[in-house]
Amino acid sequence: MHFTIPSRALGAALLLSAALVLGGSPAHGQARKSSNELSRNNAQVLAAFRDVAAAARKSAARVLCNGRPAALGTVVGADGWILTKASELKGSPVVKLADGRELPARLVGVEEAFDLAMLKVEARGLTPVVWRDSKEAPVGSWVATVATDEQPLAAGVVSVAARKGVIHPTPPPGSGYLGIVLEAAEGGVKILDVAAGSPAEKAGLKVNDVVLAVGGKDVKEIDALTGEISLRKPGETVTLRLRRAGEVKEIKAALGKRPADQQARGDLQNSMGGRRSERRYGFPVFLQHDTVLEPEQCGGPLVDLDGKAVGINIARSGRTDSYAIPSEEVRPLLADLKSGKLAPKPTVAAKSPAQEKFEEAKAAVTRAEAEAAAADKKLAEAREALKKAEADLKKEPEKKGQD
């Protein structure tokens, strides 16, 4: 065997060392185990939050649907008012309080934009959560996600202060697509590139066109343009006003579907490391934090080190981020959510038992399929490891009388 110095071997070794860290080899498994003791999410770090949870856990609840954990809840009224994440309620809800009681709950209000739901249980003397404005927890502040246990479920820090939403870094799945690369320009947004075969190309958009308006709305920024497009669905036609070689003209474009590979990359990276909430887009105002949450750990209070709620967890959004609705946005909604002014639409409220049973069975199949796929992968990896070990064994020279 010949060795070029430096050969491909060096490059490969570097990549391999990365692959070792990133991949799922046995060595990596060990590294993970030992490093979890160091991780900021380890049990010791969470134990330090015990006093924080003690102050807030009585104001937290667990929400079960069809006997399974669906979300967390937040006590917002002593007489049995529980706030939670609306879109996670699939089936008749039961609320488990910090004192251990499990009570059937009625869905009395839904605010769709914020994805908040109000539940009512027959209970008195509950401890409502104590609110604090989210600006009191500036970027870098600890925030704990509290359930009914002595320790919080998870902790993190505020990543971005409360801000207005709607436009999202990754376009929502199923939103419209044009296929252009953009740059900010005088009075509009300049097209740097038009993807081959894209809806933009079919509509006759050209490189160096400056888009001035989409559907009659001025677009002075890239985000304004992408925002307008992502609010529309594939198949919709949109009128673009643009400047080409000094002339202003209008072009109609039929939006298409985002190619799978484009959606896939960002989506894949964001799904690495855990499950995400189904509804994780479109909140009018939200606070971003880096706590690692499961989708069913949303709906409960997000508290500061005094145990005061700076927000309600509303979504696990991606690999790096979870969202909470800031307390100052939640509080003004509470009265309408309780009074029936924001009564749930019938479709959300009730599903026929047969429908529920069907959905449950469907979900069970999906889960089992995922488990089977994971098991297959594990088996393949184990076989590969065995093969390699076998090969190594054959290579090994015989050992002679050594201890």
Binding site: I5, L10, G11, F49, R265, D290, G318
Partner: protein, 332 residues
């Protein structure tokens, strides 16, 4: 045996001590020794309670205030990444796969949404370090470069960057984590990063850059950063706009042989230019004895393009010393 082992450790200690007293380094060391002690809570294996958490929080907030203004988004054509300004005149550290090629026009978006112009400089594609220079007139807010060699397992760290790309109205995004492990080529933390963060900075709890975001693996504990020391070690070639995939000499030998015997010399390679000949047996590289290509490869991997290295070869009965200039290997 025991005595020899002990002697070796003492020698090492002496060498370390003498390094401290290099005149140029002294002021630097003295300064860092005087920089305020970190709160005890940050040095413990884990916080004990709410008071420790408050101490950590106070430090994190102060670091965040300092480092957010130095964090930038970089747009180079279709690609987007992050970066960190490390000098008042606008040198920006980023990932090698963000700057990619030298001399490209880029647009940098500062923390407050203002955009400035810049150009890509060099990149070490093997380790994934890259550099960009802001070409608009400064001065710019900048973060100090720390020392990645001093990082300890379990040490707290802060990350900024633009996950999923720049979003109007969203300042650089803060995440907190701890150093899990690392080596000369990478640092691994549980500060979660994702596409768009590439090139963004990892900070120690004094707000000094200790790494640059490079890549991720499946688990949330597999966030990989390029150690900042490698940027310092290769500052000149990076600033000059060199792009390389690996330090390169350009000759071949039999990897299984018991010595480093040269067989083929690449045309126009640094080896050829330095006068290396077929059948030369390399015995010393950069002052160190080498007996195998493996050892030689390790020594070479620590060099950077434009470094001049003394190589001693056995040529027939003669011992010849050559001066080779390390080159840049292209993509493998």
């Amino acid at each position: 045996m025991v005595a020899r082992h002990a002697l070796r450790i003492i020698l090492l200690a002496l060498m370390t001590a003498s390094a401290f007293f290099v005149p140029g380094a002294r002021a630097d060391e003295a300064k860092s020794a005087k920089s305020p002690e970190l709160p005890a809570a940050l040095v413990k294996p884990a916080p004990d309670g709410v008071e420790d958490l408050r101490a950590i929080q106070k430090q994190v907030r102060s670091v965040v205030d300092k480092v957010i203004p130095c964090t930038v988004n970089i747009r180079a054509g279709r690609a987007q990444g992050s970066g960190v300004i490390v000098s008042a005149d606008g040198y920006v550290l980023t990932a090698g796969h963000v700057s990619a090629e030298a001399g490209r026009d880029v647009v940098l978006t500062l923390h407050d949404g203002k955009t400035v112009k810049g150009k890509t400089l060099g990149a070490n594609r093997a380790i994934d370090s890259g550099m960009v220079k802001i070409t608009d007139a400064g001065p710019w807010p900048f973060a100090a470069m720390g020392h990645s060699a001093d990082l300890k397992k379990g040490q707290w760290c802060v990350t900024t960057g633009h996950p999923n790309g720049y979003v109007k109205g969203r300042p650089p995004v803060v995440r907190l984590g701890r150093v899990l492990d690392g080596n000369d080529n990478l640092v691994r933390t549980d500060c979660t990063i994702v596409g768009g963060d590439s090139g963004g900075p990892l900070f120690d709890m004094r707000g000094r850059v200790v790494g640059i975001h490079s890549r991720i693996g499946g688990p949330l504990t597999a966030n990989i950063h390029v150690p900042v020391d490698t940027f310092r070690d290769t500052w000149d070639p990076l600033a000059k706009g060199e792009v390389w995939w690996r330090p390169w000499l350009g000759f071949e030998g039999d990897v299984e042989s018991t010595n480093c015997k040269v067989e083929k010399i690449g045309k126009d390679s640094p080896a050829e230019k330095g006068g290396l000949l077929p059948n030369d047996v390399i015995t010393r590289f950069d002052g160190k004895e080498v007996k195998t290509f493996g050892a030689l490869k390790t020594l070479l991997s620590k060099k950077k393009p434009t470094d001049q290295v003394e190589v001693e070869v056995q040529r027939g009965d003669e011992t010849v010393t050559l001066k080779l200039v390390i080159g840049s290997g292209k993509q493998s």
